[in-house]
Each structure stands twice: as C-alpha cells, then as structure tokens.
C-alpha cells in the first residue's frame, strides 16, 4: 500500500516540478533575453514582472479548444499528449540524489534514449494533423534533425558508458564521487575515492570525455529544438513550425514538453558527465568539504544547481547564436559531430584497455 502511494506521489511531484520549472524558465528566458539585448524584459505584471508567466498560463488555460476544420482530429488531439508523455517518462529513471530515483533500472540510459525518440513521432503527428503547410514543413525538419542528432548523442553517451561500464543511471551517479563502489581516477592516474568533489566527475576521469560532453551538449540542443538548432519552429520563417495551429491548454502542453525536454537533457548530461548529485567541492586535508556536502538533501540541491546552470547556458546560447540553415545543420551533425564522437568512442576503448586495465 505504501509503495502504491509512493508510486502515485512521485509522478505527481515530478509533474509539479516540471510545471514550476517551466514557469520559472520562461520568465528567466525572457529576462535573460531582455538583458542581453539591453532591454528590461517583463516588468508590468507583479514586481519586476514576476507574475508574468502565471498570467500567461492562466490565459492559456482559459482559452477554448480550436481544431482547424481540415485537420486530422485524432492526431491533432493526441500529439501534445504524446510529446509531453515521451519527455515526462524520461524523468522516471534519472536520479535526484543517492538512491533517490523514481525507478532504479539496469537499462536506465537505454530507456531514456528510447522514450525520448518517441518525441519525434509526436511532432510528426502534430505537423501532419494540423494540415497546415508550415506545420508540416516544421515537423519534417524536426524529424530530419532529431533523427540525425540522435546519433551524436548516442555515440557520445556510449563513450561515457564504456568508461562507467553500466547503463544504470543510479550506479553511474554513485561511481562519480565519495560513495563510489569502485576505484576512480582523475585523468586516469590520481586515485580520488577519498577526495571526491569535482575530480571524481566522469568528465575528468578521462580527458576525451570533455569532448564527448561538448558533443552531447551541442547535439542535445538540437534534440530539444533549441536555438541555434530551432529550424523546426523557426518563428521568423515557419510562424511556429509544428505548433502553429495549437492554442490554449494544448499549446501549454507543447510548451511544457519543450522546457521539460530542456531540463531533461541538461539533467542527463549532469548525471552522465558532471557528477550527478555529487558535490563539486573536494576534501582538502582537514576541510572535509565533500563529506559535509554529500547526502540526500545536498544531492537534490547539487542536481538542481548543476542542471539549472546548464539550462542557463542553453538560454544564453539561444540569445547569442543565429539559426542554422538546414544544410549547415546536417553538415555539423554528419561531418563534424559524428566522426568526432566515433573518435571519442575509439579512445574510450583504448583508454579502457590501456589505462584502466
């Protein structure tokens, strides 16, 4: 009975978190956009515009359902649900703290990669169901982009998994700090099981994983359709891409899925490469900074801080770089990221054989 209640409470808590995060992230996005462009951003609703996103969501909830008369009603109605669920399910295997994980599965990473790809089908459903040329163009672009960029994401993750030797995200998180069950080495030569902190993170366990993380980060931007890879949405050329015809609560769900996806890929990168819930502060002699800052509450704190930082970088990049052209997008993926990811994977194999033995 207790486990049943827990199994109901966890998704509800995660959903509430996603909703709150989205409200916060939209506000942060608009504020950062404003500051980068020497503007102020929202200022009128509440102090410093703090209530702006709440006003926005209230507006969206009040709107009526509009489906275009020529649309495919079933696909049109199902698409936002499918897109959101695909992202939402991804949260089920990501650890928030030591053993604080909704579902501790051995194939967690594989599961995430599998369910997040379903997102592409949802976007195609949305674009096709809308029966609008812009929507269809947007979704075609989205499919081409998401399927292409799945490869560098997967390959860079494989490079990390070859070092960690497990697909279980909980174990991957454990093996990056003080609580590790196996020996961890900083850059392959300095044993840091007792020191912990930033030195234990996967990204520093082998130098080529830094390149891997860079590839993962760039490709994950494309996975969640963020600028500079936002050609599926491309407001200035496709109006809104696949969500042109959506309004009201359906649009709210598409938006929620977009921001949930941002946080999901940020968190996945944090778990695999940036030490998950482990503290970035190392033990220095008598100052046991890592010991003091490890625990369930600290774990959630570090996960949040790191992920939010990555989300902030995503927003920062969005307001700096212009949109890629479709051919440039494919060039970057197939000619640069994928070969580089393959090289990293090969180095991972050699590293495993020659250095970690």
């Amino acid at each position: 009975m207790d486990s049943l209640i827990l199994n109901i409470l966890t998704p509800v808590a995660i959903f509430l978190f996603i909703a709150l995060f989205t409200l916060f992230a939209v506000y942060a996005e608009r504020k950062i956009a404003g500051f980068v462009q020497d503007r102020l951003g929202p200022m009128e609703t509440g102090k410093y515009g703090l209530l702006q996103t709440f006003a926005d969501i209230l507006k969206l909830l009040q709107k009526e359902f509009i489906s275009p008369s020529a649309s495919d009603k079933i696909l049109f109605a199902l698409a936002p649900i499918l897109i959101f669920v695909a992202v939402f399910v991804g949260y089920s295997v990501i650890p928030w703290g030591p053993n604080l994980i909704p579902s501790n599965t051995h194939t967690g990473l594989f599961f995430i990669m599998a369910v997040v790809s379903i997102d592409a089908i949802g976007i195609l459903m949305a674009g096709w169901g809308s029966n609008n040329k812009y929507s269809l163009l947007g979704s075609i672009r989205a499919i081409a982009q998401m399927i292409s960029y799945e490869l560098p994401v997967g390959l860079s993750l494989i490079a990390a998994v070859m070092i960690t030797q497990t697909l279980n995200l909980n174990e991957i998180a454990f093996n990056q700090g003080l609580l590790s069950s196996k020996e961890i080495y900083f850059l392959g030569f300095w044993k840091v099981n007792e020191i912990g902190g930033i030195f234990g993170w996967n990204i520093f366990q082998a130098p080529h994983l830094m390149v891997s993380y860079a590839i993962f980060f760039i490709a994950s931007l494309a996975e969640c359709n963020r600028a500079p890879f936002d050609i599926p949405e491309a407001e200035s050329e496709l109006i809104g891409g696949f969500h042109t015809e959506y309004g009201g609560i359906r649009f709210a769900f598409l938006f929620l899925a977009e921001y949930a996806m941002m946080f999901l890929v940020a968190m996945l990168g944090v778990v695999i490469f940036l030490g998950a819930w482990n503290s970035p502060l190392p033990n220095i002699g008598p100052a046991k900074l890592a010991d003091w800052t490890t625990g369930p509450v600290w774990g959630v704190f570090w996960t949040l801080i790191k992920s939010l930082f990555i989300v902030a970088v995503q927003i920062w990049i969005r307001w700096t770089l212009p949109r890629f052209r479709a051919d440039q997008l494919m060039t970057l993926c197939w000619k640069i990221l994928i070969p580089l990811a393959f090289v990293c994977m090969a180095i991972s194999g050699l590293w495993r054989i020659l250095i970690m033995i």
Binding site: M43, W319, T320, L321, I336
Partner: protein
Amino acid sequence: MIFKTTIQGLATAIKGLTLTVRHLFSARKKRQSLDIKKDNYFEEQQGVTTVQYPKVKMPIPEVARYQLDVVIDDCIVCDLCAKACPVDCITIEAIKSPEAIGKTSDGSVKRLYAAEFDIDMAKCMYCGLCTVVCPTECITMTDKYDRVTTNLADLTYTFSDMTPEEVKKRKEEWTKFQAEKEAAKNK
C-alpha cells in the same frame, strides 16, 4: 578545410557568447542620462536603455512641435492651413458674415464664422506647414505628444466653439443678407 571551418565556427561562437554575457551583466546598470542635448549622452553605451514610458519620460525640447492647437478666437477662417496640409487632415467650414465680427489679438479683422474646424490627429504627419502659412499665428504646435484614446474618433480634435443653433442662425442671417442684396440689385 572542414577542420578550419570548425575551428573558425567555434571561435566566432565564443566571441559572440562573450559579447552577450557582457551585456547580460552590464544590465545591472541603467542608462542615466536620457537627455540627448547633454554632452555625455553618447558616452553611456552600457546598461539597459529601456525607458519605462508612462512612468519615465524622456526630456523634450523647449520648443517641441507635436500636436496641433488652435486659438479659435484668433482665427480668421482663411482656410490657408487646410490648403497647405499635405494629408488633408484639417476640415474647415466657413460661414460668411454680413459685417465684420471683430478683431483678432493682432488686429486682423474677422469676417467669417468657423462653423467647423476639425483636425484629425490620426492623419496629421506633424510637418508644421499649417503653422507656417497661418496669417494670425492662431494654429500652433504644442509640446503634447501622448494623447491616448480607445476611440479613434477622439483623435479628431474640434476647435469650433459654435453650437448647432448658432450655426443655423448665422447661416440664416447670411441667406437673408444675400436675398436682400439680390432683391436690391433686381429693383
């Protein structure tokens, strides 16, 4: 080749990112001097440039030339302003008077009643030609620029101070005078 473009792409991306993050952090400051006449106006390039308009207003010149105003008592209804207007935003209807009505403040004799003197500020392009041609300088540009209304008709400013009854009376007066003159001629 592809290696070179990759490096170049990364370098330019980093350049752009440092530029935006500089702006992000300089947003803590606000542009202090809003007056373009000040010497240091163009030196302050850092910080937020937004002026939160209804709460903060930018200084305007002493002799600002914005929305039109008419002192109808000084108007001799010569119609020059309506003729000069490039966008035809001034509508004037004059009624002739049998005798001189009075004098304007600069001594010109008024012989016409202004039954209608409307300026459609939604059409006005603020060129100021009407103020140049006005012989009595009764039409001027003021320093008001932000009249806001939810009704478009409110942007048509009416300056005539005659009531409909008065207009009717003056018209009848003139027709009567015309008829009398006509009768005198035919006699």
